[in-house]
Symmetry: C2
DNA sequence: ATATAAAATTAGACATGACTAATTTATGTA
DNA sequence: TACATAAATTAGTCATGTCTAATTTTATAT
């Protein structure tokens, strides 16, 4: 039961969208995949026929057991390849997303396992995201969004939730990376923006869109 | 001017078929790609429109300059990935072809270069085939087909011309690998089969199909 | 030279996965 | 409640790359 490139991308998108507790609507999927809702509905029907998801207007799209395993398998491969690209090929962490997007679709029975072993069985990818095990289990570790940290709190960047190239480039510019130490100087009530100091540098203002997408470990 | 997966496969096939001096006919391409001549003709037209090849009934398909560069680029990537799979991920040389067939289509400006550096700039892939440089130049070394060797000639396996899984499995069974020493014991005039000794082992009979696809360095 | 076979070509169809435009269903607000 | 808007859905179209079936061209053998 091999899946097409497209099917795999839909399953992945549905998985990610399903993590937040909102219902996974055709519109949401269309936005995530940058295509249109009509196309999405066509594909949802196909995925439902293959028992990879269930879909109805009220519930939205929900991954079946096999759909979720398939999604986790793609995500596992995506993140393992990201580790490879950064650790072995010396790419920057903000450059690897699009390449991993392609590599994740390579089909081979043994590949993920062999790559995993070669990389030393990493638990997290270069963005700090957990790499699912073969059985689909996710390694977890305590973390909060930066937006949830209190004023004067010191914390360490553990991972980023948005791994799009523009966001990562923005972080690079701010000199924020995994492990960067951030002190919350002030939280603006009205728009949730924050003034922070990065690695004890001068204060900078960042939006809630930024702080919502950074996961930190509190000191 | 990025090429599709399919276009890349056609260019590669045309390149390989063009190496032997036969004309590259729709039939030959169809056989190589395991599809049918009608499909091939459709694609040849598209490739011609993009100036990647020229095609007419008499000459067959001929790669243009840009078509050849594109083909060499795919072959370069294919062979680099094969080195990676065998050297780093511990695959057997008979297992990697189908995976490399997928990996060769990954698009990224820097990838081939970075992979090449990571692998230590290898000149030959695990099957002994030369890896084109970025500029398309092929490393060369003297070699002949085993079928051209004389009786009693001692030689060393330098590469294989057919890298299909069935052929490689057959070689594995015969215990023939890169560097194996082969002595030609007898050549049968009538069907060009040969009796050979592999690494001084007991004599074995092999067909001309086999000896035509093994390249050797004469002692 | 001509019959026969093989190869090349054309025409028409199909699957996949996308699109636009029109329609229906929900949701939210005055 | 009723209108306005957003979302979901349907119908029809399109590009890509494939196929089969028929037809034409080329090559081969007697």
């Amino acid at each position: 039961m091999k899946k097409t490139y497209s099917e795999e991308n839909y399953l992945k998108a549905i998985y990610h969208l399903g993590k937040s507790d909102n219902k996974v609507s055709p519109k949401a999927i269309a936005d995530a995949l940058e295509n249109n809702p009509a196309s999405v509905i066509d594909m949802l029907k196909k995925l439902q026929d293959k028992d990879l998801i269930s879909y109805d207007k009220v519930q939205g799209a929900i991954l079946s057991r096999s759909g979720e395993m398939a999604a986790l398998d793609i995500i596992r491969k995506h993140r393992l390849w990201e580790v490879f690209l950064v650790e072995k090929l010396q790419y920057g962490w903000d450059e690897v997303h699009d390449i991993a997007e392609q590599l994740e679709h390579i089909h081979d029975e043994q590949l993920a396992k062999k790559l995993d072993d070669f990389l030393g069985n990493p638990s997290f990818d270069p963005h700090g995201d957990p790499i699912p095990a073969q059985n689909g289990k996710m390694p977890v570790y305590a973390s909060k969004r930066l937006s949830e940290a209190d004023e004067n709190q010191m914390c360490k960047v553990g991972s980023v939730r948005d791994t799009s190239t523009p966001f990562l480039k923005y972080l690079k510019q701010l000199k924020v990376g995994l492990g960067s130490r951030i002190r919350v100087i002030e939280k603006m009530e009205f728009d949730q923006s924050m003034i922070i100091s990065i690695d004890e540098g001068e204060p900078k203002t960042v939006s809630s869109k930024m702080t919502d997408n950074i996961l930190v470990i509190l000191d």
